[in-house]
């Protein structure tokens, strides 16, 4: 969840850089407390990771990252997290749409069920997934020890993010705007693409960033089902843990630093995409 807490940082720096307005005593105090809190919880630990990673020197860092097994884990984790995020962008928006716009039997129940992946300890989720899609699957679907298991686990834990970010924005949308577009001749698809989507994009982007970050950091829900096979189904969090268990902290920090950089890049890219979509309308 590192990246979730990155969001306030971006707006805070942007504001102080742009504002130039002098802070009064209370907002100064507020900013101070926020920064202190943020530093203790996020900035200092992150810096520590980067510092530890750089202790072995550039060569050590490079060796750690390009280690075949580590590189495979990074590729798998980032690739799967991206794939899952793309699926979530579509499915999450769709589910949010259904929840807001349609009336059906069991809607309230679905509303509650959506949040289960939030509420469940991830290892419980892992257990559920194992019993459903493991070797003794009652459905006859066995994805145990495959990359699909990783994908499935990511999907499960990241499901609520986009639904929950898009849903309130969608509920607040002015229906008359869509009617205006319709009476001007826009088909439902055009109305969605040119009118609704630009309004939803910031929410979708925020949800996508959360979803990606959660995927990259996932551990509990996949360890049981994926089998953690080196070069095949081992993800970075597992790789980092095993590095630490082998007393190789430098290696673990190097992988962590890479993940940090990738997550940051993804969030920045999402922000850029979001601005583009809004401007294009």
């Amino acid at each position: 969840m590192t990246t979730a807490t990155l969001a306030p940082d971006r707006s805070a720096t942007r504001r102080s850089a742009r504002g130039g307005r002098r802070l009064d005593r209370y907002s100064g105090l507020g900013l101070g407390v926020a920064m202190l809190w943020f530093s203790l919880l996020v900035l200092i630990p992150l810096t520590a990771v980067v510092v530890t990673a750089s202790e072995g020197g550039w060569g050590g860092f490079w060796d750690a990252v390009t280690n075949e097994q580590t590189a495979a884990a990074i590729r798998l984790t980032v690739g799967t997290a991206l794939g899952v995020t793309v699926v979530n962008v579509v499915m999450g928006t769709l589910i949010a749409w259904v929840l807001v716009r349609d009336r059906f039997f069991g809607k309230r129940l679905l509303e509650i069920l959506i949040d289960i992946p939030f509420a469940l300890p991830t290892i419980v989720a892992g257990l559920v997934l194992l019993s459903l899609y493991g070797p003794e699957s009652p459905l006859g679907i066995d994805v145990h020890n495959t990359r699909i298991a990783v994908f499935l686990a990511f999907l499960f834990v990241t499901l609520p993010f986009i639904v929950r970010t898009v849903q309130p924005v969608l509920a607040e949308l002015d229906r008359e705007v869509e009617e205006a577009a319709a009476s001007l001749g826009a088909s439902r698809f055009t109305t969605f693409r040119r009118i609704i989507l630009p309004s939803l994009t910031p929410a979708i982007a925020a949800g996508a960033a959360l979803s990606f970050a959660r995927g990259v950091s996932e551990y509990g829900s996949l360890v049981l089902l994926s089998g953690n096979l080196p070069m095949r189904t081992e993800v970075t969090s597992v790789r980092i843990l095993s590095s630490i268990e082998n007393d190789n902290l430098d290696n673990a920090s190097a992988v962590a630093a890479v993940l940090l950089a990738i997550s940051f890049a993804v969030i920045v890219i999402l922000d850029i995409i979001q601005r583009r979509v809004i401007r294009r309308g």
Partner: protein, 339 residues
């Protein structure tokens, strides 16, 4: 006839919004759908636009049966009370939207948008976002957007309802002038009788899902079909068991004239240029409005006891029969009880 509505009914659950409504709206005119809120006028407008489906009945626009057509195919321009602006698009792109949907050439779109922005006096605001405009400007933008597609009919749903009184009056005058310029068949919904009387060529009074009366502002004001229309179109006061307009009554002091009703002046209020006099006759309070000049001539000031008889200024046949009683009047301040 431009819009032909035949036997249209619409229910929302158990609420009857429209009950077998038929009305013909003439081409090239400005027609007002007037009535209290919840009376069904907006529903009728939305049915014409295709934003709502009638449960039964039919809608024809310029001779084409539009009953089953989706809003996209009706070629109507619709303006909403709360602007329904495309918030993420500049004013220009809002106005251009309908033309872009119709895939007109870029140069043509640019030209047409310029022309429309001039028409609604927003030339300098083309690159702004709707949020950077005032309410009145936003509504003018919405109007330009609706006019851009050269609609067969222009429909406005309480277009000035969200604006403050002054802007509302300006836009009302402006809409009238615009209509004289553009001449597109226009239907607008309002609950404000003054707005309807001032702007419309024809008024359709709708109440409780039914049409009460259709006519020109003069016809409706001078010959209301029933008490509802009379009450809704302007101030009324009860004289005996008849409704009359307060400014159609005159007050006499001195000897009562034959046929007049006598009473006591119980209250005098000045509202701007007019004076409101309340006369108590028996158990009724009749309201009369006078100009200040007439009021001065009558000389019914504080502290003076004087009789006043009164009768309708116009030959209102509706009232003639009840003016047999006589009334004497004293000033409210001298006899606070009014009797």
């Amino acid at each position: 006839m431009s819009i032909e509505i035949s036997n249209v009914s619409k229910r929302f659950g158990s609420f009857v919004a429209l009950d077998d409504v038929s009305v013909s709206i003439p081409s090239g005119q400005l027609t007002a759908l007037l009535g209290p809120s919840g009376g069904g006028k907006s529903t009728l407008l939305r049915i014409i636009a295709g934003l709502e489906q009638a449960d039964s009945g039919s809608v024809r626009i310029e001779g084409v049966d539009a009953t089953g057509l989706p809003p996209q195919k009706r070629n109507v321009g619709f303006v909403f009370q709360h602007y329904a602006a495309f918030k993420h698009m500049s004013v220009r792109r809002n106005v251009a939207f309908g033309l872009e949907i119709r895939r007109r050439p870029k140069a043509e779109i640019r030209e047409r948008v310029d022309e429309l922005l001039r028409l609604v006096h927003l030339e300098q605001f083309g690159d702004r976002l709707p949020a950077q405009l005032s309410g009145g400007q936003r509504q003018r933008m919405a109007l330009a957007r609706a006019l851009a597609v050269e609609p067969t009919v222009l429909l406005l749903d309480e277009p000035f309802g969200a604006l403050d009184a002054k802007v509302r009056k300006e836009l009302r005058d402006w809409l009238r002038r615009l209509h004289d310029e553009v001449h597109v068949t226009t239907v607008f919904v309002t609950h404000d009788q003054e707005e309807a009387l001032e702007v419309a060529d024809e008024i359709v009074v709708i109440n409780d899902g039914r049409i009460e009366q259709i006519g020109t502002p003069d016809e409706l004001y001078d010959a209301p079909a029933n008490d509802f229309v009379m009450r809704f179109l302007g101030p009324v006061t009860q004289l005996g068991d008849q409704l009359v307009r307060p400014h159609d009554l005159v007050i006499h002091t001195g000897d009562p004239e034959p046929g007049a009703v006598t009473g006591q002046v119980s209250r005098i209020t000045r509202i701007g240029f007019e004076i409101r006099v309340e006369v108590t006759t028996g158990d009724q309070v009749v309201v009369v409005t006078l100009t200040r000049t007439r009021f001065r001539a009558l000389d019914i000031e504080e502290g003076r006891r004087c009789g006043s008889g009164w009768r309708p200024r116009r030959s209102l046949t509706r009232c003639a029969s009840v003016e047999e009683a006589r009334c004497r009047s004293r000033h409210a301040v001298t006899t606070p009880s009014g009797r």
